[in-house]
Symmetry: C2
Subunit: 227 residues, 2 copies
């Protein structure tokens, strides 16, 4: 996550509002009033204000001076663009990971792939999702680039709902696991070029999968499960 003091009031407020926007609890163009949010979350306006200012910077909230804060949220176009950006950036990230990964990270990545394959055969998709998230996070760290890590972590979290829904579609988890294994192998064999291509293709395949099912369908399905 981005905010260091996750467990302070402000950190909690930030995360709650952010989740509220990403999950659709706070809807597009909705006004986020400091007082209301504060009461809702049981805090004063100060931490709410700070959280809103941060969310503005992330682009999830638009602040009109002396007027108010409004939910911006992510459009379909935004999500597609994020995937497009990820397709090239995850490639670059995997390239660097192949060059800079530490033995510990290599070990965790390898175990991650093993475990995910195990859970997939057992049909435990919740675990597969979590491991998928972690797989990519390890790559981000292994790139040794805080810029890359920062950027991709954000994106990853932005599209979390879509990502998990895509992974839950018929057969995608197994394919994803295969792709993870190939990426792992390229990294273990220190083949940056190959790792880049595979990671790029991995994201492109996800995009393809999302297109097949339709982004709207996936989002609606995930939205309804939460209510």
């Amino acid at each position: 996550m981005d905010v260091s003091d996750k467990y302070s009031l402000r950190g909690r407020v930030f995360n709650e509002i952010r989740e509220g926007i990403l999950s659709g609890k706070y809807k597009e163009h909705e006004e986020l009033k400091e007082n209301t949010l504060g009461q809702e979350l049981g805090v004063s306006r100060t931490p709410v204000r700070e959280a809103l200012r941060q969310l503005e910077l992330e682009g999830l909230v638009k602040i009109i001076p002396n007027k108010g804060a409004y939910v911006v949220g992510l459009t379909e176009r935004d999500i597609k663009d994020i995937y497009a950006a990820r397709s090239v950036l995850e490639g670059l990230c995997a390239r660097w990971a192949a060059q800079y990964i530490t033995p510990e990270q290599k070990k965790e990545l390898s175990e991650n792939v093993e475990l995910s394959e195990f859970y997939a055969t057992r049909g435990n998709f919740a675990q597969v999702c979590e491991l998928d998230t972690r797989f990519h996070e390890i790559l981000y760290q292994a790139s040794g680039s805080r810029i890359m890590e920062h950027m991709l972590l954000n994106f990853h979290h932005y599209v979390e709902r879509v990502r998990l829904m895509s992974l839950a579609t018929e057969g995608r988890a197994a394919h994803s696991n295969e792709e993870h294994r190939k990426i792992l192998q390229a990294i273990e064999e220190k083949k940056p070029q190959l790792a880049e291509e595979l990671a790029h293709q991995h994201v492109m395949n996800t995009i393809q999968n999302i297109d097949n099912y339709g982004l709207k369908n996936l989002l609606d399905a995930s939205g309804s499960t939460e209510e």
Copy 2:
């Protein structure tokens, strides 16, 4: 810029601290105390706090809860990574610009290239720099992707000092202008693939130029001119 109320106290405070970090006024690991900054800028601690929280999200400041805010700044590695990321993202952006650019944007881009060539022959590099900045900004807008625009605007600003120093090196302005013209042409002829390759190459050439002169030399030179 990112903050909507550029001219409010908080907006001003945010920009001043940000510029202070990017320009090197506030040095790596330096502690940014709310009181001190507030007095320096003639405001109370509240707007300072909000600005610091935002800078944390941007990665320019590290906040340790209940302890303090510390300058993180950009390392050489960070700058190189930003350029690497830009090399692929500006490519993608140019591709989209070729697809979605409006006639007005096309016109401004064309005039921008003309003007820049004019100023370059006259040796007016300050103008060339400004036009270079604007050239890229137009492309970001023309991509029609607020995600892309947001990301690249940030990066662009992060490396502004390096970018301008690179543009000031022998012969680079002229080459840059040539590359701009080719990108413009690809966009006018609606060739997304070509536009992507050219924009990618444009950033790669800048990286090459920076490497030739040495990032440190460029940064030192720009730092000394400010003091």
